[in-house]
Amino acid sequence: MTLRTRVLLLGVGLILAANLGLGAVMLAVQRQQVLGEVQLRARTFLDVLGVATVGPMASNRIDALDQQLAALIEQNLDALDIRYVAIVDTDLRVLAHSRQSLYGSTLNDAFAKEAAARDLSVVRTVRDEEGETLLVSLPVQTRVPDEHGIRWGTIIAGFGLDRLTSALFRTLIGSVASILLVTLVAAALAAAVLDGQIVRPLGRLTQAAAGLAEGDLSIRADVIGHDEIARLGNTFNQMADTLERNTRNLEDQVRSRTSELTESNRRLCDVNDRLQHLATTDGLTGLFNFRHFDATLRAELRRSARLSAPLTLLMLDVDHFKDYNDHCGHPAGDDILRRIGEILRARLRATDVPCRYGGEEFAVILLDSGKDAGLEVAEELRQRFEETPFAGEEHQPEGRLTVSIGVATFPMDGESAEELLRASDRALYAAKQAGRNRVVANDPGVQKEG
């Protein structure tokens, strides 16, 4: 339910409630006033009748009573809605009555008895089959002021109130309807003014706030006038200005920080890469180091076992490298080691894992390769070393720089890393013993014996 609807319903409801309440109060008040007026008129009527009848009552001139009563009733019938008038003596015997048939009868109702017992006028309101009736009595008496006198009898009269009440109600309904109509028109005008002055500006402000909430920082409320809502709109716009400015600044800062972070992260990755490289790579030859070799060998053995794939390990050692170092110096020896690394990287597949096992000893893991393939690769490597000229190799015992290679294959030469290393190491030893510059495969029989 919109604010406009609620305000209208509230206003109309309040107006209706106020009118109904006011009408009820007016009805009650005016009824009391009318009742008081009727009582006053009735008392006056009875006073006049009392003055006119006291003489005839005191002198027992009943015919005069009838004349007086008939004349006064005729004069006041319309004004007072007289239902009946009775003149009774002190024994409540009817001396005159507006209903001729009651002459000579005795009244015995409660009001008549109360009226006869009281020295003052009695007023009561009763409701019977004829409707609401105002009963008024007047003692007919003669006395000197402040003294007791002679009570001749009592006048009792009933006055209808329904006609007056109905007239009053009709008048009041007309008044309330008129007031209601006027107030509703006024309410409609007030609602229109309210709509233009409050609801619509609030709607514009709400729309702007909704746009701002959805992220449109450029949206602003239309501000008209200088009232409270206009001040609210201006405040909202100032808030939006501040929010937009702060958001822009924050975004700039975020972008800047993000850029710095990205750069830092990149550098960190580089460092990590270098660290990873340094952790897994031999610094002299550029090949993987022993730690990487060891971890890779174990992992690949598990994979090969799971896939039932062969894996061959080559153990390579430079022949008489100590002699070379002694003769050519360690820098030259280091250079030889770097050249070996280059030869290995040049020949091997990307999936093969060449490592510097230690000193002048190298190891190569040939994935998915059986013994024959391993022997072939080993032989090719041996030949490339043999054919590659190295500075100062002429001083070697063989006149050239050569390598010996031991070959062991998973799973026939060993199922674990240790077994396979021992097997390849035995084969290398056998190659050394056989004269160096050769490739020797591990002999499973030897392994068994050993």
Partner: protein, 329 residues
């Protein structure tokens, strides 16, 4: 019974026309009535229930009357069965012999009260005021009720064809009155005329004192007087007697006058005085006995308790007329 119909001294038509200067002694009498302060005969009594009806400075009476004599103005009428019925009714109530004494003159009533010859008296209002001035212990105990009221009015009537519409227009015309002691037939009309600056002896062409109300009404109907002072009961009586009252119109109303007062001789013992008053008050027209006992007075319906203050309005009119007469030669 009406005071206005009293004073038969002027009932004789030979006394009907009086000279203007007849006003002077009446005025002097009025002045004397109003200026006469009551003598302080007794010290102020202590208030008591029995002394409630006592005038200030008066002691309770001590005389227990062996019989009751009631002085009643005769108004020129003979004794009737009504008088006897009244005496009998009171005698039954009081267990005393009761005698109704008709007196033609008010001074006879005064003398009877003063000399112990009367125990009770009925006095017209003006006579009561004068008697009270003479004896401050004399107090109105009851007021007579006529036609259901303790008050009556004085009318100034004229013929409908007189062309007069107001009392001021009486200047230069003749007016008939009852006599100088009549409340409605002289005193109150004169007071009313004086309020309107109509001097009865300077402004009117003639002043007629005709002795009773019937004569006043007849004079106006006959055209012997342009207007006349009377009261409603007299008009009703004249109508019943066949006079052409319908030819008359009321020119003005003068005051509301208390009916006759009932007084008890001040030296009567209070409880007996109370019993007498109660006995009288118990008689009214609502009972057959009461109607019989009150039949001596036309329209008399009973007696109601009264006070001396109820007659202050009469004293006020007397005071007004006295001041007016003071300027009259």
């Amino acid at each position: 019974m009406r005071g206005d119909e009293s004073h038969m001294r002027f009932a004789d038509p030979r006394h009907a026309r009086v000279a203007r200067h007849a006003w002077v002694p009446v005025a002097l009498l009025a002045v004397a009535v109003t200026s006469c302060a009551p003598p302080a005969r007794l010290p102020p009594p202590k208030p008591s229930a029995s002394a409630a009806s006592l005038a200030p400075g008066c002691l309770p009476g001590t005389v227990v009357a062996p019989r009751l004599r009631i002085g009643v103005p005769s108004h020129g009428t003979p004794r009737t069965l009504g008088h006897e019925a009244l005496a009998n009714a009171l005698s039954r109530r009081l267990a005393l012999p009761v005698e109704i004494i008709l007196l033609d003159r008010y001074d006879e009533i005064d003398e009877g009260m003063a000399n112990g010859l009367l125990e009770v008296a009925m006095l017209p209002p003006l006579e009561y005021v004068k008697a009270r001035n003479r004896d401050p212990c004399l107090t109105a105990r009851l007021t007579l009720v006529f036609d259901g009221t303790v008050l009556y009015s004085s009318y100034l009537v004229t013929r409908k064809d007189s062309g007069l519409t107001g009392l001021r227009q009486l200047v230069g015309h003749s007016v008939a009155f009852v006599d100088q002691t009549s409340a409605s037939g002289w005193l109150f009309p004169v007071a009313r005329l004086s309020e309107l600056s109509v001097d009865p002896f300077r402004s009117l062409s003639d002043v007629l004192f005709l002795g009773n109300h019937r004569a006043v009404i007849e004079a106006v109907i006959d055209g012997r007087a342009t207007a006349g002072a009377t009261y409603p009961g007299a008009l009703e009586g004249a109508r019943r007697d066949g006079l052409d009252v319908g030819a008359l119109a009321i020119l003005g109303i003068a005051g509301r006058i208390p009916h006759d007062a009932v007084v008890v001789r001040p030296d009567i013992e209070p409880s007996q005085a109370r019993a007498i008053i109660d006995a009288l008050a118990s008689l009214n027209s609502t009972t057959a006995e009461g109607r019989a006992a009150l039949s001596f007075g036309e329209g008399l319906g009973g007696f109601v308790p009264s006070t001396d203050a109820f007659y202050d309005q009469v004293r006020e009119v007397v005071r007004q007329v006295g001041r007016f007469a003071g300027g009259t030669p």
